[in-house]
Symmetry: C2
Subunit: 353 residues, 2 copies
């Protein structure tokens, strides 16, 4: 077994504290990664605090993981010691259902094994995530990260990145299209970068006029303030695709009205009820769709990393030491980050030393 240091939540109320645990030894298909950076996703906070009523403790959060390969199993071909690798939201899936066969492990019919707050397949063993100094993952659930990218800013690509890249690709966003990205946070800022790199005319749609300048810096061609009824009316029925990254219940109807006939708004941020209710007539009068999308498959995650290397895309991050993770959670609650906290795991190794 491999002895690992990390930070864990032990219940919904207490802060994260240092925690030591063991991981399996490297099997023939496994990759052992020394974790360099671990992004803080908003869901880490929800899970640590049991907001979704499904938390398993002790919990080591973190599913935006970048590190250096230190050891590989005998059958591993994609990575070798010294390479940089990434791990996202999943570390396993059934490999046998139609989704897995199509490379859509995120939609595994048995449910993928989550990187943390899950259980190893066929076992009661909890999975532990990226707020730790080492991880052992099957090769299939790793991606290779080019050394040319700024590694600390790559970490959020493993969740915030793929969550926005996948729907933009699935709904075939490209040149000649007007695409709206709704909400400017961890997901939204990646949505702008990807939609722009894919060649679309990108409109940042936000409730906050103060976010306009930053949206432009990130690549938005226009900024639409959703509380400005005249501006919303001026953009009516003009969008080819909407990527909705808002993470809380909200009224979808004003955004549906922005879609052209036959076009889709994809939800990626909101898991709860969409209140106030959607109007059927708003979908019927224009054959519009409201859809959802969840992260991406492993092949597409690698494609996304390679796309980022080609287009020099990374996240905008603020680096924090692991000792500040609880403070970072509090700031996250106030949306006080541009746009993703990333933990520098060197801070953990110094503490453990």
């Amino acid at each position: 077994m491999i002895h690992v240091h990390g930070y864990a939540a032990h219940d919904a109320q207490s802060p994260l504290v240092p925690f030591t645990f063991e991981r399996r030894d490297v099997g023939p298909h496994d990759v052992q990664i020394e974790i360099l950076f671990s992004g803080i996703c908003h869901s880490d906070l929800h899970q640590a605090r049991n907001d979704w009523r499904n938390s398993l403790y002790p919990m080591v959060p973190g599913h935006e993981i970048i590190g250096r390969v230190v050891k590989v199993g005998a059958h591993v071909t994609k990575l070798k010691a010294g390479d940089f690798a990434g791990v996202g939201c999943m570390v396993d899936s059934c490999r046998q259902c139609s989704a897995c066969h199509e490379g859509l492990e995120q939609y595994c019919e048995e449910g993928p094994t989550l990187t943390y707050n899950g259980r190893e397949r066929g076992s009661e063993q909890l999975t532990f995530g990226g707020y730790s100094d080492q991880i052992v993952v099957e090769e299939h659930f790793t991606v290779k990260v080019p050394a040319t990218l700024d590694l600390k800013a790559v970490a959020p690509l493993l969740c915030a990145g793929i969550t926005t890249y996948s729907p933009l690709r699935h709904w075939k966003v490209g040149p000649g299209q007007k695409v709206g990205v709704i909400g400017l946070g961890g997901l939204g800022h990646m949505g702008i970068k990807f939609a722009k790199a894919l060649g679309a005319h990108v409109v940042m749609i936000t409730t906050s006029p103060g976010k306009g300048k930053d949206a432009t810096r990130l690549g938005a061609d226009e900024v639409l303030i959703s509380r400005d009824a005249d501006a919303m009316a001026a953009h009516k029925a003009s969008f080819d695709f909407l990527l909705n990254t808002i993470p809380v219940p909200h009224d979808l109807n004003p955004y549906v009205n922005l879609l052209k006939r036959d076009k889709t708004m994809a939800l990626v941020g909101v898991l709860t009820e969409l209140e106030p209710p959607l109007s059927g007539g708003n979908l019927i009068m224009g054959r519009k769709s409201v859809a959802g999308s969840s992260i991406g498959g492993m092949a597409e995650t690698q494609e996304m990393i390679d796309f980022c290397a080609e287009h020099n895309i990374v996240s905008d991050v603020e680096i924090v030491p692991i000792q500040s993770v609880n403070e970072a959670y509090e700031r996250l609650l106030k949306n006080d980050v541009k746009y993703r906290f990333v933990i520098d795991m060197a801070s953990l190794r110094q503490e453990a030393a």
Copy 2:
């Protein structure tokens, strides 16, 4: 001008009563149709009673019209006197927007001119519908009806038929697919017939066990009672397409759970808010879509009529005289019809004679 007899509502509270009015003379692109049968759509009732707060009086309802051509303009080529013709929900559109250019007049960006409760384009003149003995319509907004079909049972195809046919075609329903039709009324009974004729395995989904036998007679391969939690669980994630014909607010979430990954539920019946609210997570976990669809374009409406002639499909109807229209409305409110009332306009001509 052409002197016409009909039945009209004069306000939201009063019953429909005999009404005489004038229609324009036949222009070079017009067709004059002696109306033989006029279906009673649920929306006729809503409009007559101003349930949607947009009613224009006096109102002659009716947008499921079948009749005999009595006169055509000089430039009309599709129809000649003596042919049978149909008129549906629209009698005009802008002809210039992208929707009209694509043959999707129902999504005309200026809005199509409705067969009743609308105004003639560029005029304050109200449009008057099919509860009348004659109508004059531009050729483009008529369809040719083969004399081989049972004409009285063809009338509902012009709304209930095309409203269900169009989404089944748009979302490419065909052999090898499991398709659910939700709700068994005027729309639902046509949805079953079309989905079956298109080669799908058809499941009628209803709250009412009592509707099962009739669903089977109409062509359903299976009946799923939506209030049976075990049955719903057994069908989870197994449908390639769902056609939702329920006309009142209802919980979409149990139906979304029936969809396979990447599949769509199309709403055709409910114009109001979808209460209780849809869950974002239910769409995200499986990349599912909720969409809407409205009637069909004129080319597709003709295609649907021709498909019906080929497959010998008509509606199940109960024929009533125009003098019973108010009583039919009361029975419609109680869903006491299998599955569409159709007015025999001979009753109007006898009254007027």
